[in-house]
Symmetry: C2
Subunit: 410 residues, 2 copies
């Protein structure tokens, strides 16, 4: 049997980061930066006011206090956005709004609250330190500073930072296009009448939603029957436009395991037993034409675990998330104290759906469903927010043990 680590490496080898495209900051949310973004301009670009008030020469008002105010002549009114550059001579001040460039001659800003708010003359009641309430040019970002590193998954603050340094376009990796096909003659679309032996197709719903959550554009083909010709024509139809094809079901030792039968005949896909529970039967390789395909087992919990352990890292690499050489899964991996214990199969790494509880910053995990990792309990899965990873050589997890945790809720 192949270890989980070996299979994960084999599937990652099937893909490389997708080509870069240029998008404006307001359309870049969720994309991954393909190259470092460095500041082409300083931020702020000019010394500017941090307050609404008056730009003054600090020396003019060094003695100001409520009982002995200093009166200055107001020579300009600088709104935010004003391009004016009035010179502030001794004895004068410029009314100034937050963000407006500090005019030549002035070296401090007196907040409006410390004045009478005058428009022709202004009474200053308190002495500012030289430099008070002036944001210095380049104080946030200097020209050439790294603003965002290649490999950053762009969230709201990232796209805002890019806009703030006046980036018109960002070089990001194209989003992966994923085609999802589930197989099984027993499958009907959810909401259809069920007859004996048929069940709703939940795997294509699960995998499509998971891939979408993981940053892919998804085409959910839905379920095809256990018919080699039908599966073959479906895969041929969609493979050319996909960066990755996901199938579920048909990979085991059954007489009708159509995915295994077809793709073994086509060649290019390897079907292996992986030392894990659930999720043992796995297929991985390429379709004719070269599109990578991952063939997941059909039991819903197996499909879920397979997605989290194998598919998510593949999508992360396609998206460019490992550009920095780090572990793209790092943010999803943590440790937690197990509250309940259970027996586990020896010789296979176990992935147990658990519910996490944060107790003052310390994570606790308990099993999400009575049945544990039993691979058909899809409804119980909905109560889980992580997978607890039990090493292959463990056969009993004792309460209080600390286990590695793969979060599935992030």
């Amino acid at each position: 049997m192949r270890s989980v680590t070996e299979h994960a490496a084999a599937v990652l080898d099937l893909v490389a980061p997708l080509p870069a495209v240029d998008v404006p900051p307001h359309a870049a949310l969720g994309h991954v930066l393909a190259e470092d973004l460095r500041a082409a301009e300083a931020l702020p670009r000019w010394d500017n006011s941090a307050m609404d008030g008056y730009a003054v020469r600090a020396a003019d008002v060094a003695t100001a206090e409520p009982s002995a105010p200093v009166v200055l002549r107001v020579v300009a009114d600088l709104a935010a956005g004003s391009g004016a550059e009035p010179h502030v001579e001794p004895g004068t001040a410029a009314r100034i709004m937050t963000g407006a460039p500090v005019p030549p001659g002035a070296d401090a800003v007196v907040p409006v609250e410390h004045t009478d708010g005058g428009t022709t003359t202004v009474r200053v009641d308190r002495a500012p330190r030289p430099g008070a309430h002036v944001r210095r040019a380049g104080e946030d970002v200097a020209v050439g500073d790294l603003v965002l590193a290649a490999g950053t998954e762009l969230g709201p603050t990232h796209v805002a930072a890019a806009a703030s340094v006046n980036a018109g376009l960002l070089r990001v990796h194209r989003r992966p296009r994923v085609v999802v096909v589930s197989t099984g003659s027993e499958l009907v679309p959810a909401g259809s009448p069920l007859r004996r032996g048929t069940i709703p197709d939940s795997n294509s719903v699960l995998l499509a939603a998971a891939a979408e959550s993981a940053g892919a554009d998804v085409l959910r083909v839905g379920a095809v029957t256990d018919d080699v010709d039908e599966l073959g024509s479906t895969l041929r139809q969609h493979a050319a436009t996909a960066d990755l094809v996901l199938t579920s079901g048909g990979v085991s030792v059954g007489a009708y395991d159509v995915v295994k039968a077809l793709l073994t005949a086509w060649g290019g896909v390897e079907f292996v037993a992986v030392a894990m529970q659930p999720g043992k039967p796995q297929g991985a390789g390429r379709l004719p034409g070269g599109t990578p395909v991952l063939c997941l087992p059909g039991n819903p919990v197996s499909a879920h675990v397979s997605f989290e352990v194998f598919v998510r890292p593949v999508l992360a690499r396609l998206r460019g998330l490992d550009a920095r050489g780090g572990d793209a899964l790092a943010r999803r991996t943590t440790r937690a104290v197990v509250d309940d214990g259970w027996r586990t199969p020896q010789g296979r790494e176990q992935y147990m759906p658990v519910r996490l509880r944060d107790e003052d910053g310390v994570l606790h995990a308990s099993r999400a469903a009575r049945g544990g990792s039993g691979s058909h309990l899809v409804a119980g899965l909905a109560g889980s927010d992580a997978l607890a990873v039990v090493p292959a050589d463990v056969d009993v997890v004792e309460p209080g043990t600390t286990l590695r945790i793969l979060r599935t809720d992030l």
Copy 2:
């Protein structure tokens, strides 16, 4: 000054959960369930096989072992999806695939690995327990069981669970429609040439992306100048189609604080000072016609903090996330040990952008930017993934202190 808690309550009072709509499970990702989903049918619906193998009468093969196998006649071949109901008489077996209903008469499944895989007769090499590898009808979900509770934010496992119980449509809250307007005559779209005094509009990019991340459909109007007529016509144009309008800038005491001027004249919006740093000037109320509007300060870090503290809970309520009466922010709130210390303003609750580090399940926080919570440091903000909350009565945060943390990366 109004406390943060008081202002948060006042803004929440402006909204109620949006009406429910029906969507199929495959289109429900990210929506919030408006009513409990209970199972209309049991899951599994029939006793079915957990393995590829042979459905047998356990008593027939109770003595089977490799040195003394038992041979049975194969009377049927049950693929997944088969509706056949052959009776398994003593001395016979039915070939059965994973998921196929167990036929009448049979009470155990022998995995194919424990047989010779025959199709007319089969040699059974090991005795199964009665009930072995049979999934019992209703074992996962019984009719009437709660599958998903109202208020659940539907992730991949939730929509899959809904599909698995054959739900054709889910009753979910409509997504909020949010209009984002930033104000300031100094603002130009990112990527435009800058002249003295102009800066790129990053707030509309920030707030639109944040609202989208928080589950809203967003119309980003972008920046309008500090002109009462322009702002007025923009708001009138978009208010009718919005569930929430967000503005940034123009809420302070400056002479050009256009949002405050216009909405004070229109009435229905209250402008207040909130005891927090950053984010002190806030406006909240209704536009003519009744659309809720939140007026955030224009400094980018203030806008970010205001979104996380006030807007996100409002969006959560609109989406139906507080239907269960719980704190919609609970998942985002945790505690962390502060690695570096800093001085803070007394009398105002401080929100310090921090970077989190998970050390074996214990969270540590350190300041994201040299300048700390200085409200103009938008580029530094991009390095943060949470806000550390310092109570109003603290003036020095010592290293090693445990603080409440509002995650902004989830």
